[in-house]
């Protein structure tokens, strides 16, 4: 089980796990629940550069379309092909098998993100 307090979060409901200078990014279970069953994800290409707080992909459910915001600036070093093939992984394991991309970042940038307490407060205390 992922230690959710070890992750960082954004107001756009992404989570970030930093290992060295690589940030793994997904959407939170709160966001997945609000979206409903995810049926399509559109992710940036490996090697492309993303800019913090700009749209870099899409997450579609049966009912709606959500935009994926890059939580940090950097180069995409990996995308989760499993989730492209089976988008329901976002619902079944938002913090694990449902991760979306890995970005090579400046680790110092992570400090600007929300911690677990701030994120839970943002979602009205719904965990």
């Amino acid at each position: 089980m992922t230690d959710l307090t070890a992750l960082k979060y954004t107001e756009e409901h992404e989570w970030v796990a930093l290992a060295g200078d690589v940030a793994t990014v997904g959407i939170t279970d709160y966001a997945a629940e609000k979206l409903g069953d995810v049926v399509y994800v559109d992710l940036p290409a490996v090697g492309s550069t993303v800019t913090a707080n700009t749209v870099c992909g899409e997450i579609e459910s049966t009912k709606s379309v959500g935009e994926l915001y890059a939580p940090l600036s950097g180069e995409i070093v990996a995308v989760n092909d499993a989730v492209v093939d089976d988008p329901s992984l976002v619902n079944s394991g938002a913090f694990e098998g449902g991760w979306l991309v890995k970005i090579q970042v400046d680790p110092a940038d992570v400090d600007g993100l929300l911690d677990r307490t701030a994120y839970v407060a943002l979602t009205g205390g719904e965990e």
Binding site: E33, G36, D37, V39, Y40, D42, E58, E60, S61, T62, K63, V65, S88, N91
Partner: protein, 369 residues
């Protein structure tokens, strides 16, 4: 959040862990677990829907049939007792105020069920059109609850429900778009073989006080047969696959019935009715509703533009989703008649990307049994 109304089943939905949404001013369950799982359950077994937000009107009196012939677009007076009929409430311009189902319950007695969000407009139109007639219209929406059981196992489930007795005609003998009278715990139970999913199924009406017990009894009888509670998300993808219009999307006061493929619902050869002249004289060049199918997984959604091969916008999607049953994107859209022929190649502007789509006949899905 504005003050939302709740149905008599609100605590059942909460106990089942439902997510809620504002639908027509009502706080309604959008899903309980997964909208895909709920959708598939209805196609393969059955789903249980709270549709108590819908509005019910009793139309009675010696002029009831003649009044409905005047107030609605279809020929109501020739309906047989025991039958149901889909109809439209038009305004003077031939636009659709709402789509309704009419049930004939007696020579001078009818039940009309309309959409939740249009209740006030329907009531207003009925009251106005009943002036100077002996017909009496009573809005019973606040007293009644409506529960739908939809899916291939629906009949087995209702037949197995403890407390449902004295059903006549028996459900095995009840045709589609017909209704039976029964009893549930010594109260009158109205059971209609109608629905909004493209499957066989029933809509059951009881007084609010009995709704929780009926919900529980249906769920208890149905769970061994695969029945699951299903929310509005599944209801929307089910009706879309079945090519059924949703007012506010495929129907509105800006749309004439023939544009939405509902010309057959209008009995232009009957006597005077509201909207008749406008419908009869409407231009045949107006955009018409078509089905669109595409490959891949990116769905066109309501409001997205439909383009021709030259990149010119030729229409707009009214409803769209990745079809859970078919596995590819489907949509309904209004396009000019010249582009409405099945097989016509068009494009959907999915947030800047043009996705090829092909015009297809509706419905997208038709049950086999």
């Amino acid at each position: 959040m504005p003050d939302l109304r709740t149905t008599a089943l609100a605590d059942r939905h909460a106990a089942l862990g439902a997510s809620f949404t504002d639908f027509g001013g009502w706080n309604m369950p959008v899903r309980y677990t997964s909208d895909l799982a709920e959708h598939h359950a209805v196609r393969t077994a059955a789903g249980l829907f709270d549709i108590s937000h819908m509005a019910e009107f009793l139309v009675t009196g010696s002029g009831a049939a003649a009044f409905l012939d005047y107030a609605l677009a279809g020929r109501i007076s020739t309906m047989k007792i025991g039958k149901a009929k889909y109809s439209l409430l038009l305004d003077e311009t031939g636009g659709v105020i709402d789509d309704v189902i009419v049930y004939r319950t007696g020579d001078d007695d009818f039940l009309v069920i309309s959409n939740a969000g249009n209740r006030a407009l329907v009531a207003e139109a009925f009251v106005a059109r009943a002036a100077y007639t002996p017909a009496v219209v009573e809005d019973i929406s606040d007293q009644m609850s409506l529960i739908a059981v939809q899916g291939p196992r629906a009949r087995e489930i209702v037949e197995a429900t403890v407390g449902v007795t004295d059903v006549a005609p028996a459900l095995a003998d009840l045709g589609y778009y017909a209704w039976s009278q029964g009893r549930f715990q010594d109260e009158k139970l109205f059971i209609a073989r109608t629905g909004y999913t493209g499957e066989d199924g029933f809509e059951l009406m009881v007084p609010n006080a009995l709704a929780p017990a009926l919900w529980d009894a249906l769920l208890a009888a149905g769970e061994p047969l695969g029945l699951v509670p299903a929310g509005l998300a599944a209801r929307d993808t089910l009706r879309l696959e079945a090519g059924m219009p949703l007012h506010g999307h495929e129907l509105s006061t800006a749309i004439r019935p023939a544009q939405a493929g509902l010309g057959r619902v209008v009995s232009a050869d009957k006597g005077e009715f509201v909207g008749k002249e406008a419908v009869v004289t409407a231009s045949t060049d107006l955009p018409v509703l078509v089905g669109l199918v595409a490959e891949g997984r990116r769905a066109g959604r309501a409001g997205y533009a439909v383009m021709d091969a030259d990149g010119t916008s030729v229409g707009e999607i009214t409803s769209g989703a990745l079809s859970p049953t078919l596995g590819h994107p489907i949509a309904m859209a209004f396009v000019p008649p010249a582009l409405a022929e099945p097989g016509t190649s068009l494009f959907i502007d999915v947030r800047g990307t043009l996705i090829p789509a092909t015009v297809t006949a509706l419905p997208f899905y038709r049950r086999t049994a």
